[in-house]
């Protein structure tokens, strides 16, 4: 096939997929007033998502905080200004790293399992069975999962932030010679000294986490609902879900920071 036609087909396929995700998100939003009926299932999903991803998220968060402290510490040491290490680690953890790693881990653990679960339902006619019973799969399957992750991602992010700042403190003390007291005092100060109760970084980070949760769930449900062709199709759906989730986490993360610090900031 000629490369141009190939490219054209690729673009059409991607655009079609993106259109489906947007439509799904919109239809999910329209069902939110009726969330009460799915509350139980939503809470179950949120709880499972939290439990399943908590251990990995915490390990990764600790290392991410340590890397952050090392990275900034190495530069700060050259200027002999390691006293602000706590401040920088705390703020970058809250604004960038915390939501980012939580999102990626959620995509890999929960997003993949959502795609597998809904994909299996699609290829074994269970989704069709819902439609035949006049139960909209968006209402029954997608809505509770999207709300669950929109809720869970910020909660996990708060924990990630704390563990990450802690991970940074270990490096600060042992490798950069910053006393724990100084580190924690500057970190605490950075996270409290603000007219808005918490500094902007924390709010922006939580907003990101909320957006990531919605994106991961929507993209993963969409991949599952579009699965076709038996077990192989389910495998492909999982792959699509994780790939698109990570892609969106990076792009949306950029857009949110850019919006609040360069456009509106």
């Amino acid at each position: 096939m000629n490369p141009l036609a190939h490219l054209g087909q690729f673009v059409v396929k991607r655009a079609d997929g993106a259109g489906f995700v947007c439509e799904l998100l919109l239809r999910t939003a329209l069902y939110t007033p009726r969330l009460r009926r799915r509350l139980r299932f939503m809470l179950d999903t949120a709880y499972n998502a939290g439990v399943r991803s908590l251990p990995v998220t915490m390990v990764v968060a600790a290392f991410a905080g340590a890397i952050l402290a090392m990275q900034t510490g190495i530069e700060l040491r050259r200027f002999g200004d390691t006293a602000v290490l706590g401040t920088i680690t705390a703020l970058s953890m809250c604004r960038e790293m915390g939501p980012f790693i939580t999102g990626v881990i959620l995509a890999a653990t929960v997003g993949s399992s959502i795609a597998a679960e809904i994909g299996t339902m699609t290829v074994s006619d269970e989704v069709a069975a819902l439609e035949v019973m006049s139960i909209d799969p968006v209402d029954y399957l997608v809505l509770p999962r999207v709300v669950a992750l929109a809720l869970m991602c910020p909660i996990l992010t708060v924990l990630s932030n704390l563990i990450g700042i802690f991970g940074g403190s270990v490096i600060a003390e042992h490798n950069l010679g910053v006393s724990p007291q100084l580190y924690w005092v500057s970190a605490k100060e950075a996270l409290t000294s603000s007219g808005m109760l918490l500094p902007k970084e924390v709010y922006v980070g939580l907003l990101k986490a909320f957006v990531f949760g919605i994106a991961i769930a929507t993209v993963s449900c969409a991949a599952g609902l579009r699965a076709a062709g038996g077990a192989l199709g389910v495998g492909l759906a999982v792959q699509t879900a994780v790939r698109n989730s990570v892609l969106l986490i990076i792009v949306l993360g950029f857009i949110v920071t850019w919006f609040f610090y360069f456009l509106a900031g």
Binding site: D125, E126, A128, E131, V132, M133
Partner: protein
């Protein structure tokens, strides 16, 4: 009355249905037979509006299913039951909750009434002892019967059965055939039954049609079809089949 008029449908690169015409009279059971992959399940999906034809029309009680919007489809589906080929149960719901699902979603029944109704249908398909079990831990035959219970629980006017006896032992099979006939006779339910089984076709059918190359190759009453010398009729309904 269910009618397909000259329905054609292409899926992927294959022409599945080509000029399919079929009529199921009110209160009758129409048995649809045919080779694997000939489009029997696809036909059922057209009747309930999950698939729309490329050409031709699908009518239920004179209303064009192929032209319905979502609201009309929902109204239609509330009057129809659909038994999927493998039951298509929701894995995280117990057998009881699976059967109760359509009632819980749509009918505002008091709890006790709902439970009575579900128990009643479960008894009908001989599954009352397994109400608390979950789909992954029950046999294929039990899943099918749970699917049948779910299709019947809303008291539909029409039921589409996709292989209602696949994977069932002869005794349960026979009971299911009787049940399908009973549902027709006592509740005046109109049925479209897909099956490979001669026993099923002769015990619960009124008319039989055999699908080949995208349309009915031969159609007739059960008596006519059993006597027919047509090679397809011999293959599906002859003495050696089943």
């Amino acid at each position: 009355m269910i009618e397909l008029r000259d329905v054609s449908k292409r899926l992927g690169s294959r022409q599945i249905l080509a000029g399919m015409t079929l009529a199921v009279k009110k209160g009758m059971n129409f048995v649809l037979m045919g080779p694997s992959g000939s489009g029997k399940s696809v036909t059922l999906r057209h009747v309930i509006g999950i698939l729309r034809p490329d050409q031709g029309v699908v009518l239920v009680d004179g209303q064009e299913v192929s032209a319905m919007d979502n609201k009309q489809l929902m109204a239609l589906r509330k009057r129809m039951g659909y038994l999927f080929q493998n039951g298509a149960l929701i894995n995280w719901l117990s057998v009881f909750d699976n059967v109760a699902l359509p009632l819980r979603e749509h009918a505002r029944l008091p709890k006790s009434e709902l439970e009575d109704r579900v128990q009643q249908v479960l008894r009908l398909v001989k599954l009352d002892h397994a109400a608390a079990q979950f789909p992954p831990s029950i046999s294929g035959g039990m899943k099918l019967r749970a699917g049948l219970a779910r299709a019947l629980v809303t008291n539909p006017e029409y039921v589409l059965y996709d292989e209602p006896n696949a994977g069932l032992d002869p005794i349960i099979s026979h009971q299911i055939h009787e049940l399908i006939a009973q549902v027709r006779d006592e509740l005046n339910v109109t049925g479209l039954i897909v099956t490979h089984s001669r026993a099923c076709a002769t015990q619960c059918g009124d008319r039989i049609g055999i699908l080949e190359n995208g349309k009915l190759a031969i159609e007739g009453s059960v008596a006519e079809m059993v006597q027919s010398e047509h090679p397809l009729a011999r293959a599906f309904l002859g003495g050696g089949s089943d």
